[in-house]
Symmetry: C2
Subunit: 445 residues, 2 copies
C-alpha cells in the first residue's frame, strides 16, 4: 500500500520539486488537466502586463523593432524547438495547431507531387493520407479539408491496421502518414522513429502532431527522421488559453516546400512590399499573418518554465518524474479504485504512455456516471476532465467514456497524486457525484 | 491661415473629444500611426490582467465555460460586425487577416465552381481572381497561394483597368474581385457598392478587405451587397499588436460555402469529437483552431472604444471628425509644407479618402529623404510611418516614397494635427532629419 507519507517522502527527495514555485496554482486545487490547458506561470502576469503597457502603450508601433516583436515567432520557436529535438532556426511559433497542420500537410503533399513529377513513368500516384481514427478530431478535419481541396483521400484506420496498410506494395498509393504522438484520449504513445521509418519505407512522408508530447516528454524529431511536425502551445508548454502553436520542418525539406497560406510574414523580405510572393529561405515561410503578440509573449513565459529544468536534467528528468507520477497514480487506482469500478484505460507500460492516465468506470447500475464523477471531483478541487465515448459503427469499435488525468511534472507533487485518488474514493463513497450539476458545454481539450 | 487657436477652439467644440480619455497615450507623443497599430485603450491592461490571473490562473480549464472563452469569437465578431454593416451572427473574430482571406477566397472560389457545375454546358470557366497591383501585399500573396493551389490565375491591374477588365464579355472568365476598401499607401477609398455591382454584373463575387476601413469609417456590407469580407483587429479597432482579425459572409451564402481550414472550432458540434467534419451552420464554419484568448480579450476592449461613440453618433460622427482632421492636415500641409517640397499623395476629395493622408517629398538635392524625415519626426514624438516606393517595371508605373499619417478620430485632436505639421516644418527647417538614425527593419503596417 502506498501511503500519503510515502508520497510526501518522494516529494521531499524530488530534485524537480522547486520548479512548482514557477506557477500560480489556486489554493485547494489539484490540477490534473495541464494536458488540456497548462497552469499559469508566475512570471506571466508581469510579462504580459509589460507587453501591454510598456511595449504597446508606450512603445506603440516602435515596439515591432524596439521590443523585438518582429522576431518573436522565431525566438519562441527556437525555445520550443530545443524541447523537441529541433535545431535552432528550424521551428517557429505561429497561428493555431489546426492552421499549422494545414500548412505542413500542404507542404508535404506538394513534395510528394514534385517527387512524382520528377519520375517518368510514375510508379503509382500517391493520393492518400493515412491517419488514425482515434486521432484528435481537428487533425482529421484539417486533413479532410486538404483532401477535399486536392481531390485526395483520407483513410482512417485503427492503429494496428496502419502498419499493415503501409507494408509492402499496399503502401504504394500513400502520400502521407499523419499521426499524433500521444493519443488525447488514452495517452498511448507512438514510437515516432518506428512509425516514421514505416512511412518512409512505403515511400510516404511522416507528419507528426506533438500536441500532447511537446513539454511532456523528450521528443527527438531529428533522431526519428520525421518530415514535418506541429504542436500546441497551451498544454504542456503552459502558454495560456489558445496560445499560438508551433511548426517544424526537417532541414532536408528546406527551400523545397511550399504552402498556400503564403502571408506576408513568410515572405523573404516582407517590408519591401513587393506584389509577388517570395518565400523566406527557411522555416520562416511557414509564417503567415501578423502574430498575436500578447499571446505569443505569454507563450514565451510558458516555454521558459520548461527550460528552467535544463540545469536539473531537462526533459529527461521531467519524463522520469512524469512516469513516476503516473505509475503512482496507476498503483493507487489499482489498490483503491478498482473495487469502485474504475479501470486503467491507458497503456500500463510506461514506455508506451504519455504524461496522462485515463480511467474508465463501470457502474454497478450499468449507467454511465463518468461525467458526473468528474464534475464532483472538480467540485472538490481535483480538476481533470471527461471525454465521452462513442458507440461502435461501421468504421470502428465502440469507445468507452473516459476520465482523463494529466500529470504535469513541473508542478504536480506525489501528494497531489495521493490526494486526487483519495478524493476520487470519497466522491464514490459519499455518492455525491449523483448530485453533480451538469454543464451544457464541455471544456476545450 | 489656420492657427493653433483655431484648432484648440475646434477641440473645445468637439462632442467626441471625451472619447480620447479612453486611451493611454504616452506623454509628449502625437500618434498618427493608428492605421498601423491602434493605441492602447485604458481599459485593456486591467481586462487582460483579469483574463490572465482570474480567468486563466484561478479558473484554469473551467474558464472555457465560466468566463465565456468559448463564445469569445462570436461575441467579439458581433461587436465588430455592428461597425461594418453586418447583422448579429454574421461575423466572427479569429486568426489573422491573411488566414481569413485564404478562407473567404477559398469559400468564394468554391461557390463559383459549384454554380458553374450546376450549369450545362458551362458558358465560361471562371478561373481568374482580379485585384489591384497596389493592394496590400499579403492579400496578393494569399491570393497567389490559393491560385497556385487551384491552378487559377491572379491578375493584378491598375485600379482604372479593373473597371474595363470586368466590363462586358471581358469579365466572363473572372471568378472573384478582391479589393481592399482603403489603400494602405494612399488612403484612396473604393466605392464598395459600385465595385461590388461591377463584379456581380460580370458574374463574379466580390471579396473585401476592410483592414483600413473597419473602425475608420462607416462600412455598409449589406448595403453594398458584398459577398465576403475580412479585416484587421489591430489598426482602427485598437485590439493590440497582432490582434485577431475578423471574417464575414453575406447570409445569402450561409450554409453554402465551404473552406478547407476546417478546424474543430468550426465544427457543428466540436465537443462530440466525431472523426468526420460537419461545418457549423453559419459564420461559425470560418473558425478553425482554438482562439488566442488573451489577444481576443484585448481586441474586445479595443472594439469597445468604438462602441463608446454609439451614443454620440457612432461611426458617422467619427467619420465626420476624421474628415475634419484630414482636411485640416491637408490645409496646413498646403500652407506650410508645400514650400518645403511636400505634396499630398492621397485623394483631395474627402469622399474618396480613408482616415489617413500620405505625403510625398521632393528634395531640392534630388535625394530621397522620406525615411529620414519620418525618423526625425518620431524623435520629436510625432509617430507616423514611411512606405518605400518602387521603380516602374513591366507591370506598372513607379511608386513614390510616402510619409503616412493616420488620423484616428477617437483620440486625435485638432491641436495634434497642428502640432504634427509644426514639427514637420521644424524637422525641415533645422535639417535635423539629416542626422536621423536609420533602423534596419521597418515597422509593421
Amino acid at each position: 500500500m502506498i501511503t500519503r507519507d510515502d508520497c510526501a517522502r518522494r516529494d521531499a527527495e524530488d530534485a524537480l520539486a522547486p520548479l512548482r514555485d514557477q506557477f500560480m496554482l489556486p489554493e485547494g486545487v489539484i490540477y490534473v488537466d495541464g494536458n488540456s490547458l497548462g497552469a499559469l506561470p508566475r512570471a506571466t502576469p508581469a510579462r504580459v502586463a509589460a507587453a501591454v503597457q510598456q511595449e504597446w502603450g508606450d512603445g506603440l508601433i516602435r515596439s515591432w523593432n524596439d521590443a523585438g516583436w518582429i522576431t518573436l515567432p522565431q525566438r519562441v520557436g527556437d525555445r520550443i524547438g530545443a524541447l523537441v529535438g529541433a535545431r535552432a532556426g528550424e521551428c517557429v511559433a505561429a497561428d493555431s495547431t489546426s492552421v499549422n497542420l494545414y500548412k505542413v500537410l500542404s507542404a508535404a503533399a506538394r513534395i510528394v507531387q514534385a517527387d512524382e513529377s520528377a519520375q517518368a513513368p510514375i510508379a503509382a500516384a500517391r493520393r492518400v493520407i493515412v491517419s488514425e481514427r482515434q486521432n484528435f478530431p481537428t487533425d482529421l478535419y484539417i486533413a479532410e479539408g486538404l483532401c477535399r481541396a486536392l481531390g485526395w483521400t483520407l483513410e482512417l484506420l485503427e492503429t494496428r491496421a496502419i502498419v499493415e496498410r503501409l507494408s509492402g506494395a499496399r503502401g504504394a498509393d500513400v502520400a502521407l502518414l499523419m499521426l499524433t504522438q500521444v493519443n488525447y484520449r488514452t495517452g498511448a504513445l507512438h514510437d515516432m522513429a518506428a512509425m516514421t521509418a514505416l512511412a518512409h519505407a512505403a515511400g510516404a512522408l511522416a507528419v507528426w502532431d506533438l500536441a500532447h508530447s511537446a513539454g511532456a516528454l523528450p521528443v527527438d524529431l531529428h533522431g526519428a527522421g520525421a518530415d514535418f511536425a506541429i504542436g500546441c502551445g497551451y498544454k504542456f508548454l503552459n502558454g495560456g488559453p489558445g496560445a499560438p502553436a508551433f511548426v517544424w520542418a526537417h532541414p532536408r525539406h528546406a527551400g523545397r516546400f511550399w504552402q498556400p497560406l503564403s502571408g506576408w510574414m513568410g515572405h523573404a523580405a516582407p517590408f519591401t512590399f513587393r506584389p509577388e510572393y517570395e518565400p523566406a529561405a527557411g522555416i520562416g515561410r511557414f509564417l503567415c499573418g501578423t502574430p498575436p503578440v500578447l499571446s505569443l509573449t505569454a507563450l514565451e513565459c510558458g516555454v521558459d518554465t520548461l527550460h528552467a529544468a535544463d540545469a536539473l536534467g531537462g526533459m529527461a528528468a521531467l519524463r522520469a518524474k512524469s512516469i513516476a507520477l503516473t505509475e503512482a497514480f496507476i498503483a493507487l487506482v489499482d489498490e483503491r479504485c478498482a473495487p469502485l469500478g474504475f479501470a486503467v484505460a491507458s497503456p500500463r507500460d510506461a514506455r508506451l504512455r504519455g504524461s496522462q492516465v485515463s480511467l474508465t468506470h463501470a457502474s454497478a447500475d450499468g449507467a454511465s456516471h463518468g461525467y458526473a464523477i468528474v464534475q464532483a471531483l472538480i467540485a472538490r478541487g481535483v480538476i481533470g476532465d471527461f471525454r465521452a465515448g462513442a458507440a461502435s459503427d461501421a468504421h470502428g469499435p465502440a469507445l468507452p467514456d473516459i476520465l482523463r488525468f494529466g500529470f504535469t511534472p513541473l508542478y504536480l507533487r506525489f501528494v497531489d497524486v495521493y490526494d486526487a485518488v483519495e478524493q476520487l474514493v470519497q466522491v464514490m463513497r459519499t455518492g455525491e457525484y449523483r448530485e453533480a450539476r451538469f454543464n451544457e458545454r464541455s471544456a476545450v481539450t
